[in-house]
Amino acid sequence: MTQESRLGGVGLTLAYDRRVVARDLSVAVPDRSFTVVIGPNACGKSTLLRALARTLRPAAGTVLLDGRDIHSLRSREVARTLGLLPQSSVAPEGITVADLVARGRYPHQGLLRQWSTEDERVVTGSMAATGVGELADRPVDELSGGQRQRVWIAMALAQQTSLLLLDEPTTYLDVAHQIEVLDLCARLHEEQGRTLVAVLHDLHHAARYATHLIAMRDGRVVAQGDPREVVTAALVEEVFGLPCRIVEDPETGTPLVVPRARRGRQSGPVTAG
C-alpha cells in the first residue's frame, strides 16, 4: 500500500468542553484505502472521525486536508472533497428520497446555479449506485432502516467527494442490512476509487472489509496496518480486554475473532465449519 495520504491529523488534542478524549494523537489515512477505525466504547474513534470531518474543532493540533489546515479552508470547498455520513441525521417530515439525495449537491450549487444537468445526472447515478432509484418518489420516513441508510449514503455520494467518512454506518441495522451497506462501501472503494474511512463496532466486519485498520484505546492509536497483520489475539486482548482466538474467515481468509468461552463451556478443539 502506498503511504501517501490526503487526510490526517497531527498532534490532535480532542475534547468536548473540558473533557479531553485524546491527547497528541496523530493519524494518516492512506490514499485510496478503505480505512476502518475500531476500538472499545469511548475510546475516541468517533471523536477522531468528527475531527477529521471538521464537525469538531480540535483543542490543539491540526487536521490536514491535501496538506492544508482544514479549518483554514472554505467550508464549501472542503465539502467538494470530503463527505461525511454522521451517526445520526434528521430527515425532514415528508421529504422524498430524490429530494433528500438532491441536497447532497449543495456544495456544487449556488443561488443562481440551483439545478444543473450535471446535478440531475449525479443524483440519478447516486440513487442507482445505492439501489434506491425505485424509491425516488417515496417519503423517507416510510422506508425501512436499511433503505434509509442507503438513501443517506446516496446523499453523501451525490456530494461527489473523493474522500468519504462514515460514522458507524451499520448501527441499528440487522445483520443482512449491515452486510449490504458494507458491500456497498467496498464497491464504492474498489470501483470508484474513493478513499473511505469508517468507524465500525464489529471487529469481524472491520477485519473483513478494511484495507487499513486503525485500532484505538483511551484516545491512542494502539496499532494500525493491514488487518491480517493487525488483528491478533494479543491485540484484541489489549484493545478490548477480550480473551479470544483468531481463526480464518472461511469466506474471505481474513481474521475472524472468536471470543473465548466462559470457563467450563469449552468443547474441545475448534473444528472448521
Binding site: 470531518a53 464537525t55 441525521s89 422524498t96 441536497r103 449543495y106 443561488l111 446555479r113 440551483q114 425505485e134
Partner: protein, 356 residues
C-alpha cells in the same frame, strides 16, 4: 424500535421540481409552491379590496379599485390613502414578518413549536411596551420600547444558551423559562400602571391594528426590505441545517454563522411586528404549518410562509372588524381563536396518524 407503517406498494407519482435554465444559470421551483404563491397574492388582493371598502364610509369594490388607480374623489383619496390602505399594508407586513420569523425558528430548532411566542421574544417586546406605559410614554416611544424589549430578549437567549447551543431543545427550554419569567414581570408591571393606562396596555397586549398606519408600516417594511436578502441568501443553508448540524457542516454550510444570522433575523422580525401591532398571537406558529401543508414541499418554505402569514393576518383583521356588528375586536383575539383551534385540530390529526 419504531414500527413502520405498511408501505404503499405503488410509488406515488408527484410532479418533480421544475427547472429554468439559461446559460450556466438555473433556478429550481415547484409548480405547487408557485400556485400557492399566486393564490395567496390573489386572495390578498380580494381581501384587501374588501377591507378597504368596509367601515363607516362603505365603498364598492369598483370604487376602491378606481380610487386605488388614482380616480377617486378627494374624500375617497383621504379615506383610502391616509386611513385604510396604511392599515392594510401594516396588516400584510405584520403577518409576513411574524410568519417568516416562525418559519425560520421552526427550522432552526427543528421543532414545530419553535416560534417567537414560545421563545419569549414576543413577551420581551410586551415588557418593553409595558415599561413605557407605566412611565406614561407615548405611542412612538412604546413601539420603540417594544422593539428593544424583543431584541433584548433575543440577546439574553443567545447569551444563556451560548454560541453552540442555538439548536434543538436547549433553546426551546430556555425560551419557555424566559417566557414564564417575562409573563410574571408583565403582570407585575400591569398592576403598577394607572387604571386608564392599564386598560390601554391590555388592549396593546392583545395585538391590534386599530389606528395603525404609515408610522408603523414604514419602519416594518424597511426591516423586511433589510432582512429579505439575508433570509434569501441563507434559505438553502437553512434547509440543510434541518438535516442535522453534522450533515449540514459536511455539506459545506457554516452552521454557526448561518444560525446566528437567522436567529437574529427571526428575533428582529418578531420584535418589529410586535412593535407595530402588539403581540399578535399564533400567526408565527400557524402560518408556516399551513404553508407547508399547502405547498407539500419539505423544508422551511419561507416565501410561502410569509405569504400565508400576510393573508392570514389580513383575513383575521377583516373578521375582527366585521364579525360583530358595530363592535371592533382586536385582531389578536381572532388570531388567538383561529390559531388555537388549528393547533388543537393539528394535534388531533397527527395523533390519528400516530405521529405523536
Amino acid at each position: 424500535m419504531k414500527l413502520t407503517r405498511p408501505v404503499d406498494p405503488s410509488p406515488r407519482t408527484r410532479p418533480a421540481a421544475r427547472v429554468l435554465r439559461c446559460g450556466g444559470r438555473s433556478v429550481r421551483w415547484r409548480g405547487r409552491s408557485l400556485v400557492v404563491g399566486l393564490g395567496a397574492t390573489a386572495l390578498a388582493v380580494v381581501l384587501g379590496v374588501l377591507a378597504i371598502g368596509g367601515g363607516d364610509y362603505p365603498m364598492s369594490p369598483a370604487d376602491v379599485l378606481r380610487t386605488l388607480t388614482g380616480g377617486g374623489s378627494p374624500a375617497e383619496d383621504f379615506i383610502v390613502g391616509e386611513l385604510r390602505l396604511p392599515r392594510l399594508v401594516t396588516a400584510l407586513a405584520v403577518g409576513a414578518a411574524l410568519a417568516l420569523s416562525g418559519a425560520i425558528l421552526q427550522s432552526l430548532v427543528r421543532n414545530p413549536l419553535g416560534s417567537p411566542d414560545v421563545l419569549g421574544v414576543t413577551q420581551g417586546a410586551a415588557t418593553g411596551a409595558l415599561i413605557v406605559v407605566v412611565a406614561g410614554g407615548g405611542t412612538l416611544l412604546l413601539s420603540g420600547a417594544a422593539l428593544l424589549g424583543g431584541l433584548a430578549t433575543g440577546l439574553l437567549l443567545w447569551a444563556v444558551v451560548g454560541r453552540h447551543g442555538l439548536h434543538g431543545y436547549r433553546l426551546v427550554l430556555v425560551g419557555i423559562g424566559t417566557t414564564a419569567i417575562l409573563t410574571g414581570v408583565n403582570g407585575w408591571l400591569l398592576t403598577r400602571a394607572p387604571l386608564m393606562d392599564a386598560a390601554r396596555a391590555v388592549l396593546w397586549l392583545t395585538g391590534s391594528l386599530d389606528g395603525r398606519g404609515g408610522a408603523q408600516a414604514v419602519p416594518l417594511l424597511g426591516l423586511l426590505a433589510l432582512l429579505t436578502p439575508v433570509v434569501v441568501g441563507t434559505a438553502r443553508a437553512l434547509s440543510l441545517i434541518e438535516l442535522g448540524d453534522d450533515t449540514a457542516t459536511a455539506l459545506g454550510v457554516p452552521v454557526s454563522l448561518v444560525r446566528q444570522l437567522l436567529l437574529g433575523a427571526a428575533v428582529l422580525l418578531a420584535a418589529g411586528a410586535a412593535a407595530a401591532a402588539g403581540p399578535v398571537s399564533f400567526v408565527a406558529l400557524v402560518a408556516p404549518h399551513l404553508a407547508r401543508r399547502l405547498t407539500r414541499a419539505p423544508g422551511p418554505n419561507l416565501a410561502a410562509a410569509a405569504g400565508t402569514g400576510a393573508v392570514l393576518l389580513l383575513a383575521a383583521d377583516l373578521a375582527a372588524q366585521r364579525a360583530i356588528d358595530g363592535h371592533q375586536l382586536p385582531v389578536g383575539v381572532v388570531t388567538g381563536l383561529i390559531g388555537g383551534a388549528y393547533l388543537v385540530w393539528l394535534l388531533a390529526a397527527r395523533r390519528r396518524a400516530a405521529r405523536i
